[in-house]
């Protein structure tokens, strides 16, 4: 895995990926559950409670991922 991504095992549940954005006020964690569900945690400012938590199915996660990585083409 690339630099700035920290992987943490969640026994029996899946894996947690902490993505360092290189700034102190925002960060993102993604939990990939064994069943394929993803939980996207977004943190902002210095609070430890997530500002947003989004649950994505396997398919939804692919869609978001494709848009984020610019591999999604319209039409």
């Amino acid at each position: 895995m690339g630099q700035g991504v920290h992987v943490q095992e969640l026994p029996g549940m899946g894996k947690r990926y902490d993505i360092e954005l290189g700034r102190s006020d925002q960060r993102i964690s993604v939990v990939v559950r064994a069943g394929g569900m993803r939980d996207l945690y977004v943190f902002d400012d210095r609070s430890s409670e997530p500002a947003a938590v989004i649950e994505l199915s396997d398919e939804e996660a692919r869609k978001v991922g494709a848009v984020l990585s610019s591999t999604y083409f319209e039409g």
Partner: protein
């Protein structure tokens, strides 16, 4: 005997509908299935949808087998073994405190020794399903204590295998101590045999049931799982443990992922039948007599859980919020308590165990999500000295970091303004880092000699803090991650 399809269909449908309603308000589903069984059964006034619960016997047994088989298949053995010694100590404390307290409570009930062992297990082993769902719903998957919570419940599953092996000979009604010892030996011998199969025979098992087609794979596997469970029952070890162990064997093969997926829907349906069938066997009238013991048991569990949460938090260096979250999240009881109660009733132990465990699971089903969501209130009143004596904590702050070395933080400030090694060598440095374990100050990774990293590796002190004025970030060399909490600082 002719099973009543109308009754079965109605019971499962109603169970599903009630569980769906309960999910809306954040309540777990397992106790709902059982509750529907109680309400629709012959032991409750009103129409009995299923008049003869024994008709469901075989289906319920299949549900129990699949429940434990799937538990074995998805068991993350490597992750647990790689979890480290501290995790085992934390889980050991949790199990010891809760099963121990449960056993003493069981003895105090005066129902008998074997009954006390069953009560100990029913009170001591938490429900993986309920705990996992709670963590997802309360948005706590990224909390620092979550890997510890998950580790504890997984180790509990492993403990369950041994506990069942210990329990089945006790339940078999041996007439002399010698016969009992013999049966315990047979039981553990069988366990060892299956462990050996898991270790050395996984390939052979994979060859036997493995097939490219999902249809054949699931048919062969369920056949094998039920056969092993049945044989276990025949040799005097419970079917539950046979199913769990053959699941563990499968988890060692390349079929693991496919079978996890294939068995799941089958398990969900038949486990529901198992929970409904357990409910059917409960006479609602008998619950009145066990209300007081159940309330005491809930209290015992609560105290045991919070104590275990504090122990785990001390071990891992979490704050009050972490301690409270561990204690109040692992509180849920469900499938395992019902399995143990079923085994006890099947062995003809004191019939009060049925209504006792049913009511206990129901009460905790409502209490545990409510308490877990309000863990910050417990954190607020938890004194610092229960955790690390020399720390002050931001008690209610959620710790959200994946570093597991927070317990190594002892020093958080320094007056030293030079890297002494660099001064001695006459070399320059860029920035300074403070070792938070011993207070050693040295130069950063951008400096030529990287003395802070050298010190961390030589001394085994994982975490550094920036010693630059105005900076307070910390970094863990071992976990290679920024450390965000706890926001506490030493007193004085």
């Amino acid at each position: 005997m002719h099973a009543d399809l109308v009754g079965l269909g109605l019971a499962v449908l109603v169970a599903g509908l009630v569980a769906r309603l309960a999910r809306r308000v954040g309540l777990p589903s397992v106790p709902c299935y059982m509750l529907v069984g109680i309400l629709l059964g012959p032991g409750t006034p009103g129409p009995a949808v299923i008049a003869h619960p024994e008709d469901l016997g075989l289906l319920a047994a299949l549900g129990l087998v699949l429940l434990l088989f799937h538990l074995g298949v998805e068991f993350p053995l490597e992750q647990v073994l790689g979890g480290g010694r501290r995790l085992f100590i934390a889980a050991g404390c949790y199990i010891g405190l809760n099963v121990g307290a449960g056993f003493l409570f069981g003895l105090a009930l005066g129902w008998g020794g074997a009954e006390a062992l069953v009560v100990a297990g029913a009170l001591g082993v938490s429900s993986s399903a309920i705990v996992t769902k709670l963590l997802v719903e309360l948005h706590r998957l990224t909390n620092a204590e979550t890997p510890v919570i998950l580790g504890i419940i997984v180790i509990e599953d492993l403990f369950l295998a041994f506990y069942l092996a210990l329990l089945s000979p006790v339940l078999s009604d041996a007439d002399s101590p010698l016969a009992l010892v013999g049966e315990v030996a047979v039981s553990f011998g069988f366990l060892a045999l299956l462990f050996a199969v898991a270790r050395f025979g996984a390939r052979a098992v994979a060859w036997l049931v493995g097939d490219r087609e999902d249809e054949l794979l699931i048919v062969l596997t369920v056949g094998l799982a039920v056969l092993v469970a049945g044989v276990s029952e025949e040799v005097g070890v419970s079917d539950a443990i046979g199913a769990l162990m053959i699941g563990l064997v499968i988890s060692r093969t390349r079929l693991k992922e496919r079978l996890e997926r294939l068995v799941l829907p089958l398990r969900d349906v038949l486990a529901t039948v198992f929970f409904v069938a357990f409910g059917l066997s409960i006479e609602v009238g008998e619950m009145g007599a066990v209300v007081v013991p159940v309330l005491i048991a809930v209290l015992v569990t609560l105290v045991g859980n919070v104590a275990a949460g504090i122990v785990a938090a001390r071990l891992f260096g979490f704050n009050q919020r972490g301690a409270a979250n561990i204690g109040l999240t692992v509180l849920g009881r469900g499938e395992f308590s019902l399995i143990l109660a079923t085994l006890a009733l099947g062995a003809g132990l004191d019939a009060r165990i049925g209504p006792f465990v049913a009511l206990y699971v129901l009460v905790l089903a409502v209490v545990s999500p409510v308490l877990a969501a309000r863990s910050h209130r417990l954190a607020r009143v938890m004194p610092d000295r229960l955790l690390r004596a020399n720390w002050t904590y931001v008690r209610e702050e959620t710790i959200s970091t994946s570093c597991t070395h927070l317990d190594r933080i002892r020093v958080t400030g320094t007056d030293t303004a030079v890297c002494e090694e660099c001064v001695r060598l006459g070399t320059p440095w860029v920035q300074l880092r403070l070792c938070v374990t011993c207070g050693h100050v040295a130069c950063c990774d951008d400096s030529p000699h990287r003395h802070a990293r050298v010190h961390a590796e030589a001394a085994g002190h994982p975490i550094i803090q920036s010693a630059q004025p105005g900076e307070d970030w910390r970094f863990c060399f071992v976990d290679d991650t920024l450390v965000r909490a706890p926001m506490g600082s030493p007193r004085g």
